[in-house]
C-alpha cells in the first residue's frame, strides 16, 4: 500500500516535470532556440552557446528530442533546475530554495490556525444547529468562504496598512535587522507575517467551518452517539466521541487545503509583497524568466504531492478501520 502511494506520487512528479519541459518547447518563439541564436549572433561559438542555453534551460536545443528530454531529466535528478534569465547565471534552485521557506512559514501557520478556529466554530455550529447562534455561525462561515482570496488580501492590506497603519506595508522583514535567531529579527518577521497569515486563515477558515459542521452533523446522526447517550455516558465523553469521529474526514481534506493555500499564495504574496514562491511565480511571468517560473511551479507541485502522500500515509494511524 505504502509502496503504491509512493510510486504514484513519483509518477505524478515525473509527469509534471515532463509537462513543464514540453511547455517550454511549446512556448511561442521557442525561447531556448531563440536564446541560442542570440548568443551565436553575439559572437559565441555554437558549442558554447549550446552549453550556455543548456545551463539555463537544462537541455540542449536542436538536439534530437529524446536527447533533450534525457538531458532535462538528468539535470532534474541532480536538482539542477537551470539558471535564471533575469538574474544572469544564478541557479534557479538557489532562487527557489530561498523563497520556499517564506511561503512554507505562512502556509503552515495559516493551515494550523485556520483548522483550529474553523473546526471549533464548525463543531459549535453543529451542536447549536437550528438555533440562532448556529445559524449565524454557519452563515458567517459560508459568507467568508465565498469571498475570493485576492479580495481578502486586498481588503486586509488596505484596511490595516493604509487606513489604519498598524502593520508594515508589505515585505517579509525589515532590513534593519540582521538575519538570525535574535529578538529583533524574529519580531520583525512575525509582525510582517501577521497580515498575510490572517489573509490565509480567512481564505480557508470558511471551508473548515462548513466541512466541520457537516461532519459533526453527520456523526450526530450516527447510531453509536444515540447508543452512548442511552447508555448514560457523560456529556463530555459523548462530545469527545463526536469530535474524534468528526475530525477524521477533515484530515483527508488537509492536503487539499494545502494545495489551495499554495494556489492562493500567488495572490497573497503579490499583494503583500512577500518574497515567497507565489511572488516568484508572478515576477518570473512578468520578466519572462521561464526557468524560474518552471522551477517554482515544480517545487509547489512537488510540495503538494508530498503533502498528499504524507497525509495518505498518516491516515491509517488515526483511523483503526483502515489499519491492516
Amino acid at each position: 500500500m505504502i509502496i503504491t502511494k509512493l510510486v504514484t506520487g513519483l509518477v505524478m512528479i515525473w509527469v509534471v516535470a515532463s509537462a513543464t519541459f514540453f511547455l517550454v518547447l511549446a512556448m511561442p518563439g521557442n525561447p531556448a532556440a531563440a536564446k541560442e541564436a542570440d548568443l551565436i549572433n553575439k559572437g559565441m561559438s555554437p558549442q558554447n552557446a549550446a552549453k550556455a542555453v543548456a545551463a539555463i534551460y537544462g537541455f540542449i536545443p536542436k538536439k534530437p528530442l529524446i536527447d533533450q528530454y534525457g538531458n532535462y531529466v538528468w539535470q532534474l535528478l541532480h536538482f539542477n533546475l537551470g539558471q535564471s534569465i533575469a538574474e544572469q547565471g544564478t541557479p534557479v534552485s538557489s532562487i527557489v530554495a530561498s523563497a520556499f521557506p517564506w511561503t512554507v512559514i505562512l502556509a503552515l501557520s495559516g493551515i494550523l490556525i485556520s483548522f483550529l478556529i474553523g473546526a471549533s466554530v464548525g463543531i459549535l455550529a453543529a451542536v447549536k444547529r437550528n438555533t440562532r447562534t448556529g445559524d449565524t455561525l454557519t452563515l458567517g462561515g459560508a459568507f467568508i468562504n465565498g469571498i475570493p482570496t485576492f479580495v481578502i488580501a486586498i481588503l486586509l492590506f488596505y484596511l490595516f496598512t493604509t487606513i489604519w497603519a498598524i502593520f508594515p506595508q508589505g515585505g517579509n522583514v525589515s532590513i534593519v535587522y540582521t538575519p538570525g535567531w535574535n529578538a529583533g529579527y524574529i519580531g520583525s518577521v512575525i509582525s510582517h507575517a501577521v497580515l498575510p497569515v490572517i489573509a490565509y486563515v480567512l481564505a480557508i477558515v470558511g471551508g473548515w467551518v462548513l466541512t466541520a459542521k457537516a461532519s459533526v452533523v453527520s456523526v450526530l446522526g450516527d447510531d453509536f452517539i444515540l447508543a452512548a447517550e442511552l447508555r448514560g455516558l457523560k456529556p463530555t465523553t459523548v462530545l469527545r466521541y463526536i469530535t474524534r469521529n468528526a475530525m477524521l474526514p477533515l484530515f483527508t481534506i488537509l492536503a487539499l487545503a494545502l494545495a489551495f493555500l499554495f494556489g492562493g499564495s500567488v495572490f497573497i504574496e503579490d499583494v503583500f509583497n512577500y518574497p515567497g514562491l507565489g511572488q516568484l511565480m508572478i515576477n518570473s511571468i512578468n520578466t519572462k524568466d521561464y526557468p524560474v517560473l518552471d522551477g517554482a511551479f515544480l517545487l509547489i507541485t512537488v510540495a503538494v504531492i508530498v503533502a498528499n502522500i504524507l497525509a495518505d500515509l498518516a491516515y491509517p494511524l488515526i483511523d483503526p478501520r483502515i489499519r491492516r
Binding site: 505524478m12 465565498g146 475570493p148 494556489g263 511571468i285 503538494v304 498528499n308
Partner: protein, 302 residues
C-alpha cells in the same frame, strides 16, 4: 409485497404530490435573504446580457476627470482615463459572468460524462479516467493556470472559458462517479441490467436523474470558483487584457492607481470587489436553497 391501489387512492396521491411540489417551490425563496439573492443573480444576469448594449462601444474618456469621487454624473467615480466606473462595471459584467457560465457548462458536460462512464464501467474506463482526474485535482489549480498562461493567451471570453473548463471538470467527475458507483449496486439498476437494457439507456434513464442534484449544486459553486479564477488571472496580469472586465479593473486599481496605499480612487477599487462578493454570496445562498430543495431532511418544520 405489492399492494394494488384503488383509483381514489391514486388520485389523492397525485394531488398530494402536486401540493408537495408547490410547497417546495415556496420554500425555495421563503426567506428574505434568498429572495434578495435571487434578485441579485437575476440583476447581474441581465447586466451580463444587456450591459454592453446600454453603452457605446468605446466608453468616453475624460482626461480632466481622472479618479473622480462618486457624484451624480458618475455614481461610482471614474477610472484612470476618466471613464465612468459604473459603465465599466455594467459592461464588464458580460465577460466575467458569461465565461464563468460557459466554463461551468463545459465542466458539467465533461464531468458528468466522465463521471458516469467511470462509475458505470469501473474496471477499464473507470480507473483510467480517475487517474487523470486525481492527477489534475492534486495539482494546485491556480499555479497551473498561471503556467498555462505563458504558452497560451486565453484572454478572450471563449478561450478563457475553455481553459477553465478543461482543468475544472475533475471535481464534478469525482462526485458523479462516486454517486454512479453506489447507484450501480442498487437493486433497480441490477434489475434493469438483468432485463438486458443497454448500458447507455440505464445511465440516462436511471442514473442521471439521481445524479442531477449533485450537478446542480456543483454548478453554482463552479460559477463562483470560475469567477474567482478568471478575475484572479486578470488581476495578477497573467493574461493580456482584451477589453475591460472586473479583473482588469482590479488590476488597474491596485497596481496602477495604487488604490491600496492611498484613499483616492476608492470607489474604483471597491466597485468590482463588491460586485464579486455580491454575486458569490448570492450564489452561495441559493446553493443552500437548492440543497434543501433536494434534501427534505434539511428542512425545518416551524
Amino acid at each position: 409485497m405489492t399492494v394494488a391501489l384503488a383509483p381514489e387512492q391514486l388520485e389523492t396521491g397525485l394531488r398530494r404530490s402536486r401540493q408537495r411540489t408547490a410547497r417546495r417551490w415556496v420554500l425555495f425563496v421563503n426567506t428574505p435573504s434568498r429572495a434578495i439573492s435571487a434578485f441579485i443573480v437575476v440583476l447581474f444576469g441581465l447586466m451580463a446580457i444587456f450591459g454592453p448594449y446600454l453603452y457605446p462601444a468605446n466608453l468616453p474618456i475624460n482626461a480632466n476627470d481622472i479618479y473622480a469621487s462618486p457624484s451624480l454624473a458618475h455614481p461610482l467615480g471614474t477610472d484612470f482615463e476618466g471613464v465612468d466606473t459604473l459603465a465599466l462595471i455594467v459592461t464588464g459584467a458580460r465577460y466575467v459572468i458569461f465565461s464563468a457560465v460557459i466554463a461551468c457548462a463545459i465542466t458539467v458536460v465533461l464531468g458528468t460524462v466522465g463521471g458516469l462512464v467511470a462509475g458505470y464501467y469501473p474496471r477499464w474506463a473507470g480507473s483510467a479516467i480517475m487517474r487523470v482526474t486525481d492527477f489534475v485535482l492534486a495539482l494546485p489549480g491556480f499555479p497551473v493556470l498561471l503556467v498555462l498562461a505563458t504558452v497560451w493567451n486565453f484572454g478572450s471570453l471563449w478561450q478563457m472559458a475553455l481553459a477553465l473548463g478543461v482543468f475544472g471538470w475533475g471535481g464534478i467527475a469525482r462526485a458523479v462517479r462516486s454517486q454512479t458507483l453506489s447507484l450501480r449496486e442498487r437493486p433497480f439498476v441490477e434489475a434493469a441490467r438483468g432485463l438486458g437494457i443497454p448500458g447507455w439507456r440505464i445511465i440516462t434513464t436511471e442514473v442521471m436523474p439521481n445524479v442531477a442534484p449533485f450537478i446542480g449544486m456543483n454548478l453554482l459553486t463552479g460559477i463562483t470558483a470560475f469567477i474567482y479564477s478568471e478575475v484572479g488571472l486578470f488581476f495578477l496580469g497573467a493574461v493580456p487584457f482584451t477589453g475591460s472586465n472586473w479583473g482588469v479593473m482590479l488590476n488597474n486599481a491596485v497596481f496602477q492607481a495604487n488604490a491600496v496605499t492611498s484613499t483616492r480612487a476608492l470607489a474604483y477599487l471597491l466597485s468590482p470587489l463588491i460586485c464579486i462578493m455580491l454575486i458569490t454570496l448570492a450564489l452561495v445562498t441559493l446553493m443552500n436553497a437548492v440543497d434543501e430543495f433536494f434534501n427534505p431532511r434539511l428542512r425545518r418544520i416551524k
